[in-house]
């Protein structure tokens, strides 16, 4: 492993507790991390290619299959892009229901990551199975909370995984008030459990680091971002989502089968909970803000390890917002608005649990997809993840290799990366899920 006394190589051949298959390689020479590679060896997914020739109405259900953890995000970005192309606005109760569906996905995804995947790092366990021996209540809390998120997606999406009720213009079926009755009671419990989760996550021992990032997220004037808004950054970017490809680009790197994204003018950037929090703190609402403050978070946070706390704060927001939606819910007169198909290009950008998800489709006059572009959040974060590992290793070289390796994995898990989602570049390799 060492070619000189001053050279250390840290390899994790199979990253655990991330979605998908990846590896990390770090080479340290003369007390500097000289080479850091997040290797993603998931097979190519080719979704962008096989969307060509498909009808616009198929996009939400096909792209939902990109990820079993964040299918709602793919559905939402797809329908917004189509509606953008057709000049359709979905408003009122239908719009609120879409936000409710997104609340369900955030709760499911964030809770799974906080308790089952990320917390063992902070508490010094190799996995949640070992953690459960000493912290069984955390596991119980996680399952019960996640179940409430599942329930939202099941009622509104038709089933818990890969929901099937979303269509361009709205939904195929909208629930009655009675169908939501039991969910309201579950959400009241979930909101309290989420507040408890913020306290729990806030008390976890956390490395004391602060990094300077360019945060990128949607920003909406009236709400914490799910479905709509302008793309803004902490470096002053403020663009319509249709301008995305003017400012961001993807590039292939030799060591990964996933594309790396960067801001053309500057380089790496960060999407996800930490970015949303820093760029949209004012829209979190009173309850989530108080929870954040009680856990020691200020209005901004540049410690990537604190992302576990921010996810908990966003879970509070999702539970609270879901309750607000249900409190004022009146079923819309029709499950979907009429859509007049026309040729054009449509843009959709929404906030998946792990960050901004961009879709662009070009359509012919019959609504057939001519080409598609999909940029998942993990693709956008890869350069930043490598940068974090490089900095962390350089600052913690005194740690023994075992400990440093574990910390590198923790750094990666700060991003809750969804490697399956981020892999869509043609490079022939066959690995199955």
């Amino acid at each position: 492993m060492k070619d000189k006394a001053t050279t250390r190589v840290i390899k994790v051949d199979q990253l655990a507790r991330v979605e998908g298959e990846g590896a990390i390689y770090v080479k340290v020479k003369n007390n500097v991390a000289t080479d850091v590679r997040l290797r993603i060896f998931e097979p190519p997914r080719l979704f962008e290619s096989f969307m060509r020739g498909r009808d616009h109405s198929e996009a939400p259900d096909i792209t939902a299959r990109i990820c079993g953890i964040c299918p709602v995000a793919y559905q939402m970005s797809a329908v917004h892009a189509m509606e953008n192309a057709f000049g359709v606005a979905v408003t009122g109760s239908l719009r609120a229901l879409r936000r409710l569906l997104y609340c369900g996905e955030w709760i499911e995804s964030h809770v799974l990551h906080i308790y089952m995947l990320h917390a063992p790092d902070f508490l010094g366990y190799p996995d949640v199975i070992q953690m459960a021996k000493d912290h069984p209540n955390a596991v119980k809390q996680a399952l019960a909370l996640k179940k409430v998120g599942n329930e939202i997606v099941r009622i509104l999406g038709g089933r818990e995984i890969h929901p099937i009720n979303v269509r361009v213009g709205g939904f195929y079926h909208v629930p009655s008030k009675a169908e939501f009755k039991e969910l309201r009671e579950q959400l009241k419990w979930a909101r309290d459990a989420a507040l408890d989760t913020v306290r729990w996550a806030g008390a976890l021992p956390c490395p004391d680091v602060e990094y300077d990032y360019e945060f990128v997220a949607l920003r909406h004037p009236d709400e914490y971002p799910f479905n709509e808004g302008r793309l803004v950054s902490s470096q002053g970017l403020d663009i319509a989502i249709s301008e995305y490809e003017n400012h961001f680009m993807e590039e292939h790197v030799a060591h990964s089968s996933a594309l790396h994204s960067r801001i053309k003018a500057r380089g790496s950037y960060l999407v996800g909970p930490l970015a949303r929090y820093n760029l949209n703190y004012a829209q979190l609402g009173r309850l989530a803000m108080e929870a954040a403050r009680s856990a020691g978070l200020g209005e901004s946070c540049h410690n990537p390890f604190k992302s576990i706390v921010v996810r908990a704060v966003e879970t509070v927001y999702a539970c609270d917002h879901a309750l607000q939606i249900l409190d004022s819910y009146e079923p819309p007169p029709r499950p979907a608005v009429a859509v007049q198909v026309r040729a054009g290009t449509g843009y959709g950008c929404t906030e998946a649990p792990r960050g901004t998800l961009y879709h662009r489709y070009r359509l012919d006059e019959r609504g057939t997809i001519l080409d598609a572009k999909i940029v998942p959040p993990t693709s956008q974060n890869q350069k930043t993840i490598e940068g974090d590992v490089r900095r962390f290793v350089s600052d913690h070289l005194s740690l023994p290799d075992d400990e440093l390796t574990l910390r590198c994995e923790q750094v990666i898990r700060n991003y809750d990366p969804c490697i399956s989602c981020s892999t869509h570049f043609l490079r022939l390799q066959i690995v199955r899920e």
């Binding site: 979605e19 079993g68 089952m116 069984p136 996680a142 399952l143 996640k146 199955r432």
Partner: protein
């Protein structure tokens, strides 16, 4: 594997019906559902460990069978039964899913939490082809029939 009939049975088939031999668990579940008597419940799951854990925790069934595709290096269509109460599941089974909180982790977490049902058998069917949109291979198809018949004999 106990040969006596169980008073209540839960069969959980796991997999992706659209990815070749990964559908083995789902295929067994559907066959069992077609003939299952009233005391048998059948679930289909995608492989999310949290969902499996929730099912194990909430079931009242005395006997639970989990059926999933596996990749152990054996010949395609090979079938292995693991009595979870007899010991930990083989670690290599964890590799059958890229979702790192998967079936093996869920079963082992259930063990730690004290949520294992009185009898839990994990049935692995060795797969060979997992391409998107492909069907079960002939070897795995035969194994599916054999496992479904085996389970029927215990109901």
């Amino acid at each position: 594997v106990a040969a006596h009939p169980c008073p209540s049975v839960l069969v959980i088939g796991i997999g992706n019906p659209d990815r070749g031999d990964d559908a083995a668990g789902i295929a067994v579940a559907r066959r069992v559902r077609a003939y299952s008597p009233a005391h048998v419940t059948v679930l289909e799951q995608a492989g999310d460990g949290a969902d499996l854990l929730a099912a194990l925790r909430s079931t009242d069934a005395a006997c639970v069978y989990i059926v999933d595709a596996m990749e152990s290096g054996a010949a395609a269509g090979s079938v292995a039964y693991f009595d979870v109460h007899a010991g930990a599941l083989p670690a290599q089974l964890a590799l059958t899913s890229s979702h790192l909180f998967g079936v093996v982790q869920a079963v082992e977490l259930a063990r730690v939490m004290g949520w294992l049902p009185p009898q839990l058998i994990v049935c692995g069917i060795e797969g060979r082809r997992y391409a998107h949109g492909s069907a079960l291979t002939a070897d795995v198809q035969r194994a599916v029939e054999a496992v479904a018949a085996h389970l029927a004999g215990r109901m």
